[in-house]
């Protein structure tokens, strides 16, 4: 199952993300992986506890986590389940939490089930929409510009 990101988002971040497989000198001020930007957008969506499940305009990004995210995949899965529980308003003592876990988690490399990845894609899409609404109105031209906006968005949209 692929992580997926919207085509518009890929176009919007084209100045700061390397085309897949490209690692030249011209990519020095770009993120190493498109997944980096996807992940930041997903964090914004998760912080805001908002998702966008419109999958009509999604592109495959990557199958599985890039290696450098391997160590954090359990925390990411945990955050996804906690956020979904919060979004669905589940009581922390509700046995339904176990069902939710069974639905989103798996023993896959990513620790996420297909449904779990779909949910993370939906949060990433929403995160992109949020940061694009504000504060990143124009296409970012540098990583620092994006990260500054990311920091603002996290603080602004966190619940």
């Amino acid at each position: 199952m692929h992580f997926k990101f919207s085509k518009n988002a890929q176009s919007f971040f084209s100045y700061i993300i390397s085309p897949s497989g490209s690692h030249g000198a011209s990519n020095q001020n770009k993120f190493e992986y498109q997944f980096d930007v996807y992940y930041c957008c997903a964090l914004i969506g998760l912080a805001a506890v908002q998702l966008d499940e419109d999958t009509s305009d999604l592109n495959d990004l990557v199958e599985g986590y890039p290696k450098k995210y391997e160590d954090n995949k359990a925390q990411i899965a945990g955050l996804l389940v906690a956020t979904e529980a919060k979004r669905l308003g589940l009581d922390v003592h509700s046995p339904k939490l176990e069902d939710l876990m069974l639905e989103y988690l798996s023993d896959d490399e990513t620790l996420l089930s297909e449904e779990g990845i779909k949910k993370l894609n939906a949060y990433a899409l929403k995160g992109y929409n949020l940061i694009h609404d504000y504060p990143l109105l124009d296409k970012p031209t540098s990583r620092e510009e994006f990260l500054e906006a990311f920091n603002v968005a996290i603080q602004m949209y966190s619940k």
């Binding site: 993120f31 998760l46 912080a47 954090n72 939490l97 620092e144 966190s158």
Partner: protein, 750 residues
């Protein structure tokens, strides 16, 4: 002198070569030297108007061009080692070109060209590359217009053809009066070297006589311009022979009788003397006729000292003018060098000042760039740190961290993952007895499997455990927030650095990046000008000539030497002239004295002769009127034989009367048919006329002549008797024998 205004660079795109170069130059110049790869009728056609005017003023064109040869012809000529064979091949090849000329050239242009060649207005030579250039063509394109000591040279890419004017072509123009004289001189020297065949990689051919003659036949009766001098120079061959001899420095003049070998030799000698190439000459010949011819022609030639002196003075004036011009140029160059040096020093000082400011700002710029680079590295490192931290979601914000902690707490409270797993019940369903030892039937088995789905498998338990343990250690801290703040600071620092960089750039521009470049460009220009002036000055003032490029026209030292030489010649010629004048006066005086003396002498001879005649010819009045080549008698046309003899004795007697030398007067048959009276008179006068006389007399002359001397004691008589019958000759001395023998044999002579 009024100079034509010609641009220094002309191109076919912007300019009209005819109206902007050729027409004004033909109008101004006296001569044109042109070396051009291709010369065609098109150029003549375009310039015919300017050329006609130029030709009418006596202008001359020396043209070196590339012959249009086929590869076969060209190879044959280059390969030939025998000059005469080589020339023959060349002539054959050119014949084809003339045929093409006849076909292609417009009639009026052909006529003009033929006339100009005929009149010597256009002198044509052909260049064929050889040696190391044997694979190439003569492809040069340059020319020099001359007037007096001034000249314009031009060189560029254009050929003298119609096609040349249709291309994009350009020319650079140099003038002796516009500070580019050295380029003009260089072109002139190059042309002279080519014209005289001194470039070892080019064979230079005169236009063969046969080809020339053939072109001459292409003329019609109308010369298309007014011609200054005689239409043809019948002694042209002599001038060519002179030119050829001077070029080769030796030779034999093999010329037909009457075509001027002596004159040509004298012309060569004159030229060699004038150019100080020889000091003396040895002339040898066989026989007096040739000696007379040589003497006459040498006298004619060299006694024309006024003309020679005038020529020498003209040449001296020219050299003096050249020296003045060279000195003027040298002064200008020196002044130019001085001015350029002053300006250059000023510009260098200004540039150094700018350079110092510029250097400081450049140093600052480099420092800023280093700081910017460091800042970029710092930002990059900070971004890497941020990206590393964001991978831990609990560090994003306190709320996210709390959310994860709540999940962990719930899992603990719900005892997730539960210890009883789906695997236990699946295994139990397939056992025969339960853990409580009751038997498990089909109904129980189905119920156990159905409810096993409510429990997690062992792999799912492992996932939950992983998540639970990863959450359990999560503690939010400000590290990510701090990193963002540090990134922000670094970005601010980047902004400040960029502003500093831009400010510095503005200062650099103001401090004179452009100004320095402008100064540097001017300094380089001044350096070039100084170099060019020094080079030209060196040529003018050089004392030695290692490259043999100096001439009396471009070098003061040689010009002064030439002047000294001419002064010496003028002095010599002036002295010669003075001596000749004196000689002429003396000769004239002598002639006049001679004439007067002759006249007086003749009058005296006439007087004395007439006196003698009076006593010799008493029966007639005979008087000499004058003597001029012959004796002219007064008032009569002639005289008898006896009278004539008498006149002759009287005349001769008078002549010898006052002679310094004494010698015998020998007379054979002295009386002839003189009658007795006259015989006696003559016999009486002879002792008065001649101091010593030997007379051969016949027997008939004894009476009244020989016998008149019998009483003269100094007279001696010899009788010579020769017989016709034998060879005996008898000689008898003494008056007596003479008298008796003569009287006895009177009449024997008959």
């Amino acid at each position: 002198m009024e100079y034509p205004r010609i641009k220094t660079c002309i191109d076919t795109s912007v300019d009209d070569f005819i109206s902007e170069l050729y027409t004004p130059c033909f109008k101004w110049a006296e001569r044109l030297d042109r070396g051009v790869g291709y010369f065609t009728s098109g150029w003549l056609e375009y310039n015919i108007s300017g050329l006609s005017d130029f030709a009418s003023r006596g202008g001359k064109i020396r043209l070196i061009t590339s012959p249009i040869l086929s590869n076969i012809d060209s190879d044959a000529i280059i390969a030939s080692e025998n000059p005469s064979e080589d020339f023959e091949k060349f002539e054959n090849a050119l014949n084809n070109s003339v045929t093409a000329l006849e076909k292609e050239m417009k009639a009026d242009i052909l006529n003009a060209f033929s006339w100009m060649l005929y009149d010597g207005i256009i002198e044509l030579k052909f260049a064929v590359p050889c040696e190391k250039l044997s694979d190439g063509n003569f492809h040069d394109k340059f020319g020099i217009f001359y007037k007096g000591h001034e000249a314009i040279s031009f060189s560029g890419s254009i050929n003298d053809s119609k096609h040349g004017f249709a291309n994009y072509e350009s020319l650079k123009v140099f003038k002796t009066w516009a500070g580019t004289g050295e380029y003009v001189e260089s072109d002139i020297m190059r042309f002279e070297r080519l014209w005289h065949g001194q470039d070892k990689n080019l064979k230079i051919y005169n236009i063969p006589t046969a080809i020339k003659d053939r072109i001459f036949t292409l003329r019609n009766s109308d010369r298309p311009y007014a011609h200054k001098s005689a239409p043809s120079n019948k002694w042209e061959h002599q001038d060519k022979a002179v030119e050829c001899f001077l070029e080769k420095e030796h030779g034999i003049l093999a010329m037909a009788t009457g075509t001027g070998k002596t004159i040509t030799a004298i012309k060569i000698m004159t030229k060699l003397f004038e150019e100080s190439r020889i000091k003396r000459v040895v002339i040898t010949m066989y026989g007096n006729d040739l000696l007379d011819q040589w003497t006459k022609q040498m006298r004619e030639r060299f006694s024309d000292s006024d003309s020679a002196l005038s020529n020498l003075r003209t040449r001296r004036d020219e050299v003096e003018h050249t020296i003045r011009t060279l000195k003027f140029k040298a002064d200008n160059y020196k002044k130019g060098i001085e001015e350029y040096e002053v300006e250059k020093a000023e510009k260098i000082a200004q540039r150094n000042e700018i350079d110092k400011k510029y250097k400081d700002l450049n140093q600052e710029k480099n420092n800023i760039i280093k700081e910017i680079e460091k800042n970029k590295k710092d930002i990059s490192a900070k971004i890497a740190e941020i990206m590393r931290l964001t991978k831990s979601p609990y560090l994003i914000s306190q709320s996210l961290c709390d959310r994860m902690h709540e999940l962990g707490a719930s899992m603990t409270k719900l005892k997730l993952p539960k210890n009883t797993s789906k695997d236990f019940f699946t295994e139990l369903a397939h056992s025969e007895k339960c853990v409580c030892d009751r038997c498990i039937g089909e109904t129980e088995r189905e119920a156990i499997l159905r409810n096993a789905e409510r429990y997690l498998g062992s792999n799912q338990q492992s996932v939950l455990n992983t998540i639970k343990s990863s959450i359990s250690g999560c503690e939010y801290d400000s590290s990510l927030n701090d990193a963002f703040e540090q990134l922000s600071e670094l970005q601010e620092q980047a902004t400040i650095l960029n502003n500093r960089f831009n400010d510095n750039e503005e200062k650099l521009i103001k401090a004179g990046g452009d100004k320095a470049a402008e100064l540097q460009s001017r300094i380089e220009e001044l350096t070039e000008n100084i170099g060019a002036c020094k080079k030209s000055l060196n040529v003018i003032e050089a004392k030695s000539d290692p490259y043999e490029t100096l001439t009396k026209d471009n070098n003061l030292c040689l010009a002064n030497e030439a002047l000294d030489e001419l002064e010496k010649k003028i002095a010599a010629a002036t002295n010669t002239n003075r001596a000749l004048r004196r000689k002429e006066i003396v000769e004239e005086l002598l002639n006049r004295i001679k004439q007067e003396t002759t006249k007086s002498l003749k009058a005296e001879i006439v007087r004395k002769t007439n006196e003698k005649l009076k006593s010799v010819i008493t029966d007639d009045k005979i008087e000499i009127e004058s003597i001029d080549k012959y004796i002219k008698l007064k008032d009569r046309a002639g005289a008898s034989e006896g009278q004539t003899l008498g006149i002759a004795y009287c005349f001769l007697g008078t002549l010898f009367e006052d002679a310094e030398l004494q010698f015998p007067f020998i007379i054979d048959s002295p009386t002839g048919k003189m009658d007795f009276a006259k015989r006696q008179a003559v016999a009486d006068i002879i002792p008065n006329v001649f101091n010593q006389m030997i007379a051969f007399v016949q027997s008939a002359e004894v009476e009244r002549f020989a016998d008149r001397f019998y009483n003269n004691p100094d007279s001696q008589y010899i009788t010579i008797i020769a017989s016709p019958d034998d060879e005996n000759v008898e000689v008898k001395y003494g008056k007596d024998y003479f008298d008796s023998y003569q009287r006895e044999h009177k009449g024997d002579e008959e």
